[in-house]
Subunit: 230 residues, 2 copies
């Protein structure tokens, strides 16, 4: 069971590294004109998906939003599904660049767990996507639409949760977090606060939720420090 | 500020009582044949909305799903928007019947806070709606679609959160929960666990999340008991 879990974590981390390479690649200046155009199209596509949905995102809708011709877009993405999958990968690369990459500079253990959660709240607070977290909204949209797009969204969220769990596990191994609660459950709780801040902000537009989420995460981690454990 | 909050809580409770009356009314045997037909149509409508979305829910789609004629459905709901609003009200009545009404039989204070959270997790675990919590999925769907349907969904979620907050406040007043953290923040944290269980179950289909959410809620409430507060 523990071995299985380890395999999943390593598998998911490989995915994250793939997205990390993609996002580093996106930010270099060596992109060709065609590649830069593709990135600009996908920026628009991901933003639209968080406001109007990923399912209605078609070549025609994107042509309308970018002012490009449908035939020009077909040259980049052969079909609606290919466009949707490229949009999910692009959003994943952005998430990795905004949340995971900066947290990797924090030392392993508790500082990295905190950095991951803080960047996660920050990413929703700064509205990196105009409709809030791309994966929160598209997962609800595709929950009941089996197929490659749903699979890709699920894979990304699973990767995020297992990366966070792995960071918690490292903090437990370093004796910085209580090991009596599983790393999986701690990750579940920390992620829940960030997710709720995103969902409530999109609905109520009250910025207090971000500070409330950070305080909840901070208090939870403090309560889990072995020195304070009962 | 506290006074404003009180007004909002009372206002939201009035809404919940309206939905409560609606759901009690739905369950009596005094419904006319026309009313029973309307309820059966709305059961189908709410279930469909959690699987296919509330936006695509039209008179035509519902005619197809129920086997009724479009003209027959027009007699119940004059327009697509009227149908969507009636569906939200019906789902709200079901939520009140499944989560709030049974918790009202628990004594005020900590037992009622626990009962509300436990019934909330239970409602998503039992799949009262086949696509999970109606309000979680439709709020993501309508976040960026301003209008009466979004307003109604927002009102319902606000009512739920304020009812939970009010129950936490009663527990604080009874000395059963620490008052140093605001009732609003405690309600935010408890709700976050239930919401995450719903979201993760819809995506991963792993039932462990329900027990994890219950344990997280239980542990959070235990940590907030004054006897245990630092």
């Amino acid at each position: 069971m523990a071995g299985d879990n380890r395999t999943i974590v390593l598998f998911c981390q490989a995915d994250l590294l793939k997205w990390l390479r993609l996002c580093v690649y996106n930010r270099t200046d060596v992109l060709t004109k065609g590649e830069r155009t593709r990135q600009a199209i996908l920026d628009t596509a991901a933003a639209l998906a968080t406001q109007e949905g990923l399912e209605p995102l078609s070549i025609a809708r994107l042509a309308d939003a970018t002012g490009m011709s449908k035939s020009g877009l077909f040259a980049h993405f052969g079909s609606k599904e290919e466009l949707q999958l490229a949009t999910v990968d692009h959003a994943a690369a952005m998430f990795v660049a905004e949340v995971i990459a900066p947290a990797r500079s924090a030392p392993r253990g508790l500082p990295r767990v905190w950095a991951l959660c803080d960047h996660m709240v920050d990413y929703t607070e700064r509205q990196v996507f105009p409709g809030g977290c791309f994966f929160a909204s598209t997962s609800f949209e595709f929950n009941h639409k089996p197929g490659p797009v749903r699979d890709r969204i699920e894979k990304m969220i699973r990767s995020w949760l297992s990366y966070l769990e792995h960071a918690v596990e490292q903090a437990q191994q370093a004796g910085e977090l209580d090991s009596r609660l599983s790393a999986r459950e701690i990750a579940f709780q920390l992620d829940a606060f960030a997710q709720s801040a995103n969902a409530q902000f999109q609905l109520f537009r009250d910025r207090r939720v971000f500070e409330e989420a950070r305080r909840a995460i901070h208090d939870r981690l403090e309560a889990l420090r072995p020195a304070r454990a009962a």
